[in-house]
């Protein structure tokens, strides 16, 4: 039915959006990337090195950005509203203009859980408490007064994940391996530091993740304590006193740390939820966008012409996100090639 070149709006120019755009171009379409940030790349652009091979994030991102540089990309552009026409969608953009498209691809990604909501951990209150993102940025910039030269560091897994009280019951999937990656990087940075990981379960499902875990144990001597941190206090010297239960010995443990890293979990991008409601795409009870079918059609919504890629439907690793972006591109291609 491709009587004229259809317009495909891709909301969010993170790796999912960029990869999908790249594939769509390869398939002969002219997608439009809408990004509210001043630059493309999304979260990955903020990351330093990526598990499981410690490869620089730039190695992944730069080629992707280079190959999508020709594609029409609206930066600093938010979407004030979307409305559904017959078999088209009208995006009203923050600059007042509107974008009429035949297909919308949600590559809106995720939001990092706001760690300050877990008040007992004192993020934003104690000087020595930071998040996984803060640490990752420190790896990039080396500027963060909170870090200094720690002798004892703690990682708290599942901050705002698998936590009814935080309104997030699902597992954020990538935090365990991220914590291990960052713990290893910190140990390399500060070899004399004792590093503790407080976990509920270790979920190291991915390729090479387990080897990584073994290395963290044997080669880096990182201490893994099975138990959730209950509360954090501040000692007179400004260091943080962390309390948890070591559930394997059934004893409460207390440790004073120079740095506490909160592994903030992954929640759905609230903008995505808003857009979705506007065009009647349902949001799942975990807060992420609801696919037509979680097995066979994860990239397709219940609405014709609306597609998903990446973390907007749930926590994803980078390979998963890229794979979904590609399959979303194909789904869009199928959508335009087969007459409805």
């Amino acid at each position: 039915m491709v009587n004229r070149q259809p317009v495909i709006a891709i909301i969010g120019a993170g790796i999912a959006g960029l990869e999908a755009a790249r594939q769509l171009v390869a398939l002969g379409y002219k997608p439009v990337l809408v990004e509210k940030a001043p630059a493309v790349g999304g979260h990955v652009a903020e990351w330093n090195r990526l598990f499981p091979d410690m490869s620089p994030a730039a190695d992944l991102l730069d080629p992707l950005v280079a190959q999508t540089s020709g594609i029409k990309t609206l930066l600093n552009t938010e979407i004030s509203s979307i409305n559904r026409l017959k078999d088209e969608y009208n995006l009203v953009l923050s600059d007042g203009s509107s974008l009429l498209c035949q297909a919308v691809l949600f590559s809106t990604g995720f939001h990092l859980f706001d760690a300050s909501k877990k008040e007992e951990y004192g993020y934003g209150i104690y000087d020595r408490v930071i998040t996984n993102r803060d640490l990752e940025q420190w790896f990039n910039t080396r500027h963060d007064d909170r870090i200094g030269h720690p002798k004892a560091v703690g990682f708290v897994h599942c901050v705002g994940s698998r936590d009814v009280k935080a309104g997030n019951t699902q597992c954020s999937k990538v935090c365990c391996i991220t914590a291990i990656k960052q713990a290893i990087e910190l140990t390399e940075e500060f070899p004399d530091a004792e590093v503790y990981c407080f976990y509920m379960d270790l979920r190291l499902f991915g390729k090479k993740y387990e080897d990584y875990y073994i290395r963290a144990q044997r080669d880096y001597g990182i201490h893994f304590i099975r138990g959730r941190v209950s509360e954090v206090g501040e000692a007179i010297d400004g260091r943080v006193v962390v309390k948890a239960e070591d559930t394997l010995s059934g004893k409460p443990v207390k440790v004073t740390l120079d740095l506490l890293v909160l592994m903030a979990g992954i929640v759905c991008n609230p903008d995505a939820q808003y857009y979705a409601r506007e065009i009647g795409v349902s949001v799942d009870d975990d807060g992420f966008l609801k696919s037509r079918d979680n097995l066979g059609a994860i990239t397709e919504s219940s609405r014709p012409g609306v597609f998903f890629a990446g973390a907007c439907t749930g926590a994803k690793t980078i390979p998963e996100t890229l794979a979904e972006a590609r399959s979303a591109a194909l789904a869009i291609h199928r959508y335009f090639s087969n007459p409805r």
């Binding site: 300050s116 008040e119 007992e120 004192g122 934003g124 209150i125 104690y126 000087d127 509360e231 206090g233 501040e234 000692a235 007179i236 400004g238 006193v241």
Partner: protein
């Protein structure tokens, strides 16, 4: 410590506290522990700040202790509480202010339960009617007396005769605030400032010139724990928890502890003597203890009430060093004189803990 961080959280936990017209219910145990506190709460609110606070001799316990000791079912506690509400309704009030933290927790818990299970409320209304032919309206606002004091802290500051600063150095006093467990730990949104960083007391301290110190075991229970202290076999456990708090606050050298719960000031005060006897260890400056005051006593001091009228002589830990530090005048001779200016007996001195 990032102060803005706390302010941000406090902003999320503000509760509406009406300015006037309160129905006051007392605590079961405070009158024995620090009798002047409740009295001066009324004096300050009514006489000094001209608020309308009503109380009736007909009110009883709220059943909180019995409930938390598992000696009565919640329905019983609810019926008792319903009766207090009836008294309030009959008196024509709909703001309830409690002197006791456990009562506050109990009232809050019951109202929340009724909100979730209206049929239960109906049942209680029925049993109250059967029991004493009374009916009640639920209070529009339930506050703890410390909430009200928090609300009035500004007015008190305006009338302040003394500020919580060292007269010698002009430095603000270092003050530990201790919040009763039942204040906000059950329902964070019912307490001023929430459960993790409550500002109900720290708010008073700051507006009266003091400096709040935050220490690792700040959140920890004072150790009273109804099931612990009341059973002698568990009393050591009760003591141990208090000890834990003192060990944790020791390096901060606090000038005083301020609390908003009946049990806490009592145990934080008396256990200092017991610990001193057991371990020979004291936590205040040169052999003294750390005075543990109620917020009413503190307000009284700020407003220039005579320490002995505030009943500070019934504290185990001597308050004189604190008074001297602030520069509050007092007459040592009057310390153990009763209302009738006749000498009540002078207590014997402990062997370790230094007292005056």
């Amino acid at each position: 410590m990032i102060y803005q961080g706390k302010q941000k959280i406090w902003a999320d936990y503000q509760k509406e506290i009406p300015n006037d017209h309160w129905f006051y219910v007392r605590s079961c145990i405070r009158q024995n522990f620090f009798p002047a506190s409740e009295r001066y709460f009324l004096t300050i609110c009514r006489d000094m700040l001209g608020r309308d606070i009503f109380e009736t001799e007909h009110h009883t316990t709220c059943g909180g202790i019995a409930y938390h000791c598992d000696t009565i079912p919640q329905e019983t506690a609810m019926t008792i509480v319903a009766r207090q509400f009836a008294l309030m309704t009959e008196a024509g009030y709909d703001n309830l202010v409690t002197s006791c933290i456990t009562s506050f927790g109990n009232y809050t818990e019951i109202l929340e339960t009724w909100r979730e299970f209206p049929e239960l409320e109906e049942k209680i209304r029925e049993s109250l009617w059967k029991a004493c032919r009374r009916e009640f309206k639920k209070p529009r606002y339930v506050a703890h007396a410390s909430d009200l004091m928090y609300k009035l802290r500004g007015e008190i500051a305006e009338r302040a005769k003394f500020l919580l600063v060292s007269r010698a150095t002009g430095e603000p006093l270092r003050i530990v605030e201790h919040i009763g467990c039942h204040y906000a730990k059950m329902f964070p949104h019912k307490g001023v400032g929430g459960a993790e960083y409550p500002c109900v007391l720290s708010g008073m301290v700051e507006s009266w010139g003091g400096q709040v110190i935050d220490y690792p075991e700040r959140r920890h229970c004072c150790g009273y724990g109804f099931r612990q202290y009341h059973v002698k076999a568990n009393r050591g456990y009760s003591l141990s928890n208090t000890h834990k708090k003192f060990e944790s606050m020791e390096p901060f050298h606090p000038d005083m502890i301020i609390t908003n719960c009946p049990g806490c000031p009592y145990f934080l005060d008396r256990w200092q003597y017991v610990i001193a006897e057991m371990n020979g260890k004291t936590y205040g400056q040169n052999g003294y203890g750390i005075p543990a005051l109620t917020y009413e006593e503190l307000a009284g001091l700020v407003l220039g009430v005579d320490p002995w009228d505030l009943g500070l002589q019934v504290h185990q830990v001597a308050v004189e060093p604190l008074l001297d530090k602030i520069g509050i005048p007092y007459n040592p001779a009057r310390k153990y004189l009763g209302m009738d200016e006749k000498k009540i007996m002078t207590p014997g001195l402990p062997t370790v803990l230094k007292c005056c």
